[in-house]
């Protein structure tokens, strides 16, 4: 899809001294340096307003860095054709992002359609994706308002995967779900990711979710990157800010121990 040769792609996404300021001068993100490796799931963890969604939106250039550079597949987002860039990156947000006037099938087919795929190929792809994310084919003709929260979220994931993008951005995609449905979708997403091996950047404030889904976790606090650690090391980190975050979630006796994933 993109013309970037794959041998230079040792890093999928790179933040180099990136800051993001609002027009008012308020700094949402300060001097961020972060690398996302191909095929890993990097979790951006942090409380509300910490700057994790801002970080995510800098990758697909919904926001432009005030200073520094964001590189996707080795090329600065400023040098990308922004439409090309975004179609190279799957984007899944909370359920509100589905188009309410499109059926499930049309929602999933948005990117293939704007990429002018032939109708038959699009149709097959939609079927394939619905199966992949566990949606009954009968739901294809329904509208988002006629679905449950979990079904809507599956549509969101299918839509982000439609054109088989190498990179996937997910902004609290399971945030609005009840705990049981959320756990179910997390499990399915893990299984999916094991097969797909996409580069995923996943925003959440939920430590449990981070531990379940991530390869590495980047903790962001008030616009600063506190640390980036592999999942297994995260809960044992001596960093006081990490420990604070872990403690806040540590309501049960088993969280601090090494978990076996479901």
């Amino acid at each position: 899809m993109s013309s970037v040769p794959s041998e230079v792609n040792q890093t999928a996404i790179e933040f180099l001294n990136v800051s993001y300021r609002l027009a008012t001068g308020y700094e949402l993100l300060r001097n961020l340096n972060l690398t996302v490796h191909p095929g890993e799931t990097l979790i951006l963890l942090g409380r509300s307003g910490s700057g994790k969604t801002t970080t995510l939106k800098l990758i697909n250039h919904l926001l432009a860095p005030s200073a520094g550079e964001v590189r996707v597949q080795g090329r600065s987002t400023r040098d990308w054709d922004v439409i090309r860039l975004r179609r190279t990156i799957g984007y899944a947000i909370q359920e509100v992002g589905l188009f309410p006037h499109f059926t499930v099938a049309r929602n999933i087919a948005v990117v293939p359609q704007i990429e002018h795929w032939p109708a038959e190929r699009t149709r097959q792809r939609v079927q394939e994706l619905m199966q992949l994310v566990g949606l009954d084919q009968q739901l294809a003709a329904r509208y988002p308002r006629e679905l449950s929260g979990g079904q809507r979220q599956r549509v969101g994931v299918a839509r982000a995967l439609a054109a088989d993008p190498p990179i996937l951005l997910m902004d609290e995609p399971f945030g609005a779900l009840d705990p049981i449905t959320r756990a179910e979708l997390q499990r399915e997403f893990r299984a999916l990711q094991e097969r797909m091996q996409k580069t995923v950047v996943f925003v959440t404030h939920d430590l449990r979710e981070a531990l379940r889904l991530g390869t590495r976790i980047a903790l962001i606090e008030a616009g600063y990157l506190v640390t980036v650690l592999p999942v297994a090391e995260f809960v044992h980190s001596p960093d006081p800010l990490v420990a604070d975050y872990v403690d806040a979630f540590d309501s049960g006796p088993n969280l601090g121990r090494k978990r076996t994933h479901p």
């Binding site: 919904l62 947000i93 992002g97 188009f99 309410p100 006037h101 704007i114 951005l169």
Partner: protein
């Protein structure tokens, strides 16, 4: 002679004037839609244009209709024929609800939906045609509905400058001090307004995304 007898006896003329009336309203509305909706889209895209455009449309709205007909009279080509003049005046009055509703409709689309579209790589044009306009359609049709209902009423005044329409009966009845003749113009005009309101209301409901 009561109004029904009058209308029955003059039914050819009633139909003729009704068609004339419809012509004035129809042509002016179509032109107003062709101008007003793009203007609404424009100011939704460039908010700096918002004030001058909506302000102008607002000022036009405050000019009394008879005065507007008078102002337009010296205009070349337009002033040469009464129906052109009437159509232009009706068009100008219809602009405000069309511009404002198009603007409000587009602005009212859930920002999360718009951002999802942008994030997936839709161009500005694709976003407008596939997301913003379809989702704003109900509000835009509501604007057309208001514009048409206003036009049907205003078009009766066009008879004062000889543009025809059901206003002919109203002015003639006023001159003759004959209620039946006034009503022969007023009743069909009211029915047209109601019909337009109901039809467009139905359309509005059908096209509004829930």
């Amino acid at each position: 002679m009561n109004v029904w007898q009058f209308m029955l006896e003059n039914h050819t003329e009633v139909i003729e004037l009704t068609l004339e009336h419809l012509w004035l309203v129809g042509v002016s509305t179509i032109l107003a839609v062709l101008i007003g909706i793009p203007l609404g889209i424009l100011i939704a895209r460039w908010p700096a244009l918002n004030k001058p455009v909506l302000g102008s449309a607002n000022i036009i709205q405050t000019i009394p209709s008879l005065a507007l007909f008078g102002f337009l009279l010296p205009a070349p080509w337009i002033g040469a024929r009464a129906d052109r003049l009437a159509i232009l005046a009706l068009l100008l009055y219809a602009l405000l609800p069309l511009i404002r509703n198009t603007y409000t409709g587009i602005r009212g689309v859930d920002p999360a939906v718009v951002e999802a579209g942008r994030g997936m790589g839709m161009t500005t044009r694709q976003l407008l045609w596939q997301v913003q306009l379809p989702l704003a359609l109900g509000v835009i049709i509501a604007g057309v509905r208001v514009a048409v209902v206003i036009s049907v009423g205003l078009a009766t005044i066009a008879a004062a400058i000889g543009a025809g329409g059901l206003g002919e009966y109203i002015f003639r009845g006023l001159a003759m001090v004959n209620d039946s003749v006034i009503l022969a113009g007023a009743i069909p005009a009211a029915m047209l307004a109601l019909l337009a309101d109901v039809t467009l209301g139905w359309l509005e409901k059908r096209l509004s995304p829930r």
